[in-house]
């Protein structure tokens, strides 16, 4: 399927495997954190990459022990109104120093993308049926931000020599 990664539309081969569903013998998969923990050895032994998916109520620290070995961390937005995933992504970057892919999945819409990127997301599975090409514009709508975030921890006042008027 097509996803947005690092500001561009790319083909992506990861398959989401639901809890209880059979894990394909090969190919890249994304499984829930609980399943990853339970079947960790088998998952690591198979061919293909493995990413873990955090539900919106699973905090960043729950995945911390596995950050060195997973291919990506997907964070679920069950609805766009549930903003817990923003904090989760920020902590993965700022606190746990995670450098791999953080992917937004679920109810992911164009008008959230910029905030997501600022919080540390770098890949996005846009909600099915939405205009993925148009969504890229979301990243260019603002040229400045007041506050620091995962993309740049420095607030505006630390980035610019803001001469007094």
């Amino acid at each position: 399927m097509q996803i947005i990664r690092n500001g561009a539309i790319v083909e992506d081969a990861f398959v989401h495997v639901a809890n209880g569903a059979e894990i394909p013998a090969q190919g890249d998969v994304i499984v829930s954190l609980s399943r990853y923990v339970e079947e960790r050895d088998a998952l690591r032994a198979r061919a293909g990459k493995v990413g873990v998916r955090l539900a919106s109520n699973e905090e960043a620290h729950t995945v911390e022990p596995y950050l060195g070995e997973v291919a990506l961390v997907a964070i679920e937005f069950p609805t766009f109104k549930d903003g817990r995933g923003y904090t989760t992504a920020r902590l993965l970057r700022d606190r746990y120093g995670y450098k791999g892919e953080i992917r937004a999945v679920g109810d992911v819409l164009r008008d959230q993308l910029r905030a997501m990127r600022r919080c540390g997301f770098d890949a996005y599975e846009l909600k099915a049926g939405k205009d993925i090409q148009g969504a890229l514009q979301a990243f260019g709508e603002f040229s400045e931000s007041y506050q620091g975030a995962a993309d740049d921890p420095r607030p505006l006042f630390r980035r610019r020599n803001r001469a007094a008027i």
Binding site: K81, A115, G134, S143, Y146, G148, R154, P155
Partner: protein, 565 residues
């Protein structure tokens, strides 16, 4: 006041362009109404009973004459010739059209204004003491701190989808609260410690609505340069742990009370410890840059005007004397005064102002001051820098505009929500009750005799009219399809924050003002002197005598109850 630099201006311009695009995509059907809702809300656009409602941010209640003229222009061109000042120091329009929004936003941006985050589940416009910068009792001007918070919270990417709305207020006067700080999600109070260092008390979890709470003291003394990291820690705990399963239990007050203040504090301080020495630590140079914008204007060196004020208060012109007595406040600078102009005129909904009044008022703010004015959380305006010698001339001009009612902090200086006349949530109308009170108690001598008291009216339990914290509160409810009203007593929005209690069963509309009359008569009989305010009497004697005054003696009440069965 704060003036945008190129960065501030660019951010607001880009926001206006972004929303114009979102409106276009809504019209084309690319985004659904459900998806559009949070976007329009975070741009201050509500869907009300009859039309959209636009809420324009007035950051911490400070406006320039130029900005007020633009508000007048928008009222004239895009609305029905009036605007409405709100209990959160903002300005609302009740009849804008969605297709006009991009142009309205461009108008606002041209005078350094916007409607960003005036609604939606995000950090809202920060509010402050309306006498900020001129009050003799403040430690320092709260507005630079508010501006610091405004910038930090504007489009904060981590907090754009909080469980619920989030309101912050700042006060800097020890022992005095003119901004209802204790009834905000976060109340920020500046204090000085024993070493003379300034810092903040951080109160969390205040709010009204269907579950009213007084905020609890969480941060006892947060050093001032650590303010933003502390706020970020509170917001992060809330974003992570606040309830999202039930809209009515999603405010931070519910979380604070479910965890208890101690556990909540523990979580905040654990988070804070990890971020307090990071990039959020405020830079004194940047703070100075912001604070400079709020430096006192070029006051003339004038002699103290206490004697002159006393003379005006006792003068032959009784209208002027009443106005100076009730509506004029002390000022830091000798010879100056702050003047409260009540938007509580008979026959006009509280807080409403016509485009012509706004234009004229803007001119007054230039003639009698430095072209700056304030909006109060009690839906009034303030001219902050009036020369005492100018008070007679100012009073004459205000009289011509119908804005000279000398009722500040008196019974008819009431606040009311828009109610069922406008609001989609309301159960009952608020404005007709407000207008009836203003007519019935128009006699200012009677109001002066009643002394300092406040009346707050809401048309439903969401409490936009702050009924819980009125000395007298009125709550509109729907009883079998008929509007009824419950009366509360004993609330206070001040430093002595308290929540009112219900007096008794709800009354039909035609009995409400009669009941108020009885209640006030009862108060006059119970008080020791005019300094013995209604709130003092209620706290001292409780509700019983007032119940009796309104509903009759207990035995009769029982009899009535039986008769009803």
């Amino acid at each position: 006041m704060y003036q945008y630099d190129e960065f501030d201006q660019r951010i607001v311009d880009e926001r206006a362009a972004q929303f114009a695009g979102q409106v276009e995509r809504r019209f084309s059907g690319e985004i659904t109404e459900n998806e559009f809702k949070p976007l329009r809300l975070q741009n201050g656009l509500y869907m009300q009973l009859h039309a959209y409602m636009l809420r324009v941010a007035v950051p911490y209640g400070t406006l320039s004459a130029k900005q007020l003229r633009m508000l007048a222009h928008i009222a004239r061109k895009y609305d029905r010739g009036y605007g409405h000042f709100t209990t959160r120091q903002n300005c609302q329009y009740n009849w804008p059209r969605l297709e006009d929004m991009p142009e309205i936003h461009r108008c606002l941006a041209s005078v350094e204004m916007h409607s960003i985050q005036t609604s939606g589940n995000c950090v809202r416009n920060v509010t402050a003491d309306h006498f900020a910068g001129v009050a003799p009792d403040e430690l320092e001007d709260p507005r630079p701190w508010c501006e610091v918070i405004r910038q930090w919270s504007t489009f904060h990417p981590e907090f754009i989808a909080l469980p619920r709305k989030f309101k912050i207020a700042v006060g800097t006067t020890p022992g005095v609260d003119r901004a209802a700080v204790a009834f905000h999600d976060i109340g920020v109070r500046m204090i000085e410690n024993e070493q003379g260092e300034r810092g903040f008390q951080i109160l969390v979890g205040g709010g009204l609505g269907r579950t009213p709470y007084i905020a609890q003291l969480i941060g006892h003394f947060v050093p001032k340069w650590d303010l933003l990291s502390y706020l970020e820690a509170v917001l992060r705990v809330y974003n992570t742990h606040g309830r999202r399963d039930n809209l009515h239990k999603a405010r931070i007050k519910i979380l604070v009370n479910a965890l208890g203040a101690d556990e909540f504090r523990k979580r905040v301080e654990a988070e804070w410890a990890l971020i307090k020495d990071g990039p959020l630590k405020l830079d004194p140079a940047e703070f100075e840059r912001i604070a400079k914008h709020f430096a006192p204007p070029a006051y003339e060196k004038l002699p103290d005007a206490k004697a002159e004020l006393d003379k005006l208060r006792l003068g032959k012109d009784r209208e002027l004397a009443r106005f100076v007595t009730n509506n004029v406040s002390k000022h830091k600078a000798p010879g100056y005064a702050a003047v409260v102009v009540c938007l509580k005129q008979k026959d006009v909904p509280p807080g409403d102002m016509t485009d012509e009044q706004m234009d004229a008022f803007a001119a007054l703010s230039e003639r009698f001051g430095f072209g700056e004015l304030r909006v109060t959380h009690t839906q009034n305006l303030v001219l902050p820098d009036v020369r005492v010698s100018d008070l007679p001339a100012l009073h004459a001009e205000l009289s011509k505009l119908g804005l000279a009612t000398p009722n500040h902090n008196k019974l008819t200086d009431l606040i009311a929500c828009p109610g069922l006349d406008y609001c989609a949530l309301a159960n009952a109308r608020s404005i007709p009750i407000a207008l009836e009170v203003m007519q019935r108690f128009e006699d200012i001598d009677y109001q002066n005799d009643l002394g300092e008291l406040n009346l707050k009216i809401s048309g439903c339990i969401n409490a936009c009219g702050h009924h819980h914290i009125g000395n007298i509160g009125i709550l509109g409810i729907d009883k079998g399809g008929v509007e009824h009203y419950q009366i509360m007593l004993g609330g206070s929005a001040g430093y002595d924050a308290s929540l009112g209690e219900f007096l008794g069963k709800a009354l039909p509309q035609e009995q409400v003002v009669d009941a108020l009359t009885k209640l006030l008569h009862c108060y006059l009989g119970l008080r020791h002197s005019v300094e013995d305010r209604l709130i003092d009497v209620v706290r001292r004697v409780g509700l019983s005598p007032f119940k009796e005054a309104v509903y009759g003696p207990p035995t009769i009440r029982q009899g009535v109850a039986h008769a009803n069965h």
